[in-house]
Amino acid sequence: MNKNLQSLENNWNQDDFIPATNEEKESLVIMRESVGFWRDGFRRLRKNKVAMISLIVIILIMIISFIVPAFYPYSYKTQLRGSENLKPMTYSEDEQASIDSGESVFPHILGTDKLGRDYAIRIMMGSRISLLVGLIATAIILVIGSTYGAIAGYFGGRIDMILMRIVDVIYTVPDILLIVLLSFALKSPLNNLAKLPAFMWIQTVGVNLISIFIVFALLYWVSMARMVRSQVLMLKESEYVTAARALGASSARIIKKHLLTNCIGTLIVTTTLQIPSSIFTESFLSFLGLGVAVPLPSLGSLASEAINGMNTYPYLLFAPSILISLIILSFNLLGDGLRDAFDPKLKN
């Protein structure tokens, strides 16, 4: 019988019709798993060694300043009699006596200051204050700036014009001068307020610190607002905004759910880069004596106090100086890394 070459009839056998196993199916899939915004960003961030090291440094500093003080045997405000101005890793006579009698005394890793307070714990508390100020101030800036910018950008027209003129005026007002004035002017109203039972916390936080926050809330949000506005101006022309509006979404919902969530990249980057600049400002003011209230230490005020004894006790000056530079550097580098990872358009 002549075999018809065009017929495939005879070439098949039973085995060819067994259903494919899952493994065989998977081997044919060429699409990779879909990667969301966050995973994609973090994947890129993980490859950036400098940013990862900075992140680790920041986490370490946070552990040291937020968790370690709870277990630390000394307190930042206890003045130990007889152990004033100790050099690092040395003991006072009393402490030496108790060591000799067999007790264990925790060493003063960085010595003590002129009032006999353990300096290592003061440094830890100082960086806690600096970090807290940086984070809280940045949160204030983030909330006000993004809301303001989004409203200006979304509504446009006359509202945008008026809002942005206000921003222009604030932008040109010299902020440090105003912080100095404000912390000076707010001192007694806040002190009076602190006498009321409900506002006792003001006393511990310090009037100056509150006025720093007020100034941040009043002045520092403008660059964030400008950034968000320009993003929103671009995003509001997108189809999904039109679609949301056609479906009857309110302006507030569109801003919250669609516009701000889509500028998240810019927001993350600007926020991370805002933290070091807030810390910078706080340390500057604390250095001038306009920052936190005694006995709370901040890295700026610690450095400022140490200047007079710089010749004899240089480590009192260098410890806070190095730490503040390290904190600012790490946040800057992390911010740069985040920008590359989450917002490649911003990269120069």
Binding site: V169, T172, V180, P189, F280, S325, N332
Partner: protein, 305 residues
Amino acid sequence: MIKYISKRIVFSIITIFVVATITFFLMNMVPGGPFLSEKAISPTAQAALEAKYGLDKPLFNQYLTYITDIMHGDFGDSLKQRGRSVNSIIATKFPVSAKVGGIAILISLLIGIPLGSIAAINRGKPVDSAISVIATGGIAIPSFVICTVLMYFVGVHLKLLPTFGLTSWKHYIMPVISLSLYPTSYIMRLMRSSMLDVLGQDYIRTAKSKGLSKFVSVFKHALRNAILPVITYMGPMTVYTITGSFIVEKIFTIPGLGGDFIGAIGSRDYTLIMGTTIFLAALIVIMNMFVDIIYKFVDPRIKLK
């Protein structure tokens, strides 16, 4: 152009006015008054002093007098430095600060622009990485840190340079370095990124393909365009130099306006605080205005609004 400039001038005047108003009312929120700290002062003497400085009139009248005086360029008398007007204090102290600040700005431009360009031209090479590391470090170090570290090592330890005062050229070195570190690093970064941007443009390729040397294409064509962002940074740089001078002048005991301002805050010298604030704010605002106008002038691509 004229329309733009006049608009910009009006805007600056409004800003200065806003600052003056804020300053006035903030200062009036401070209770106690300037004469309270002085001991053994009789109520009549106090009243006489208040009458002399116009502090007994209603707040709004004080405000009006104050604004009129400012418009005549008169900041009144210092409350603590007896017999000296704020004008004369500013006139004697500001030149000192301006000299240090001006040198610092000049140095930042002279170092920052070439180094940033060199980094961009040698992108990816060791020179670039070295410059980037310096720039990143320079931005992270607060001015008080660099001041004190310099003072300790160079001034106190090695005794190479004097640590206070401002009498010879040697006295300028440390304050100027401290003040210019941040702006220099910032300009380096700014210049590097804008230079990279410009070097990728078509007109640079054209210049190269015409057979121009690398030197001419970089210095004649690229640098001019790449320098634009640095011009916009001039405004913030002035602000930084002024605020930085508070710290630098305090640490190096320089008899400048910044140190005086901090001193005035300590001694509650209201008129001096107000005068200095408004003077410095006006300086910053005017500087920003000039930068904006120059920017529009040198870059015709920017539309005049």
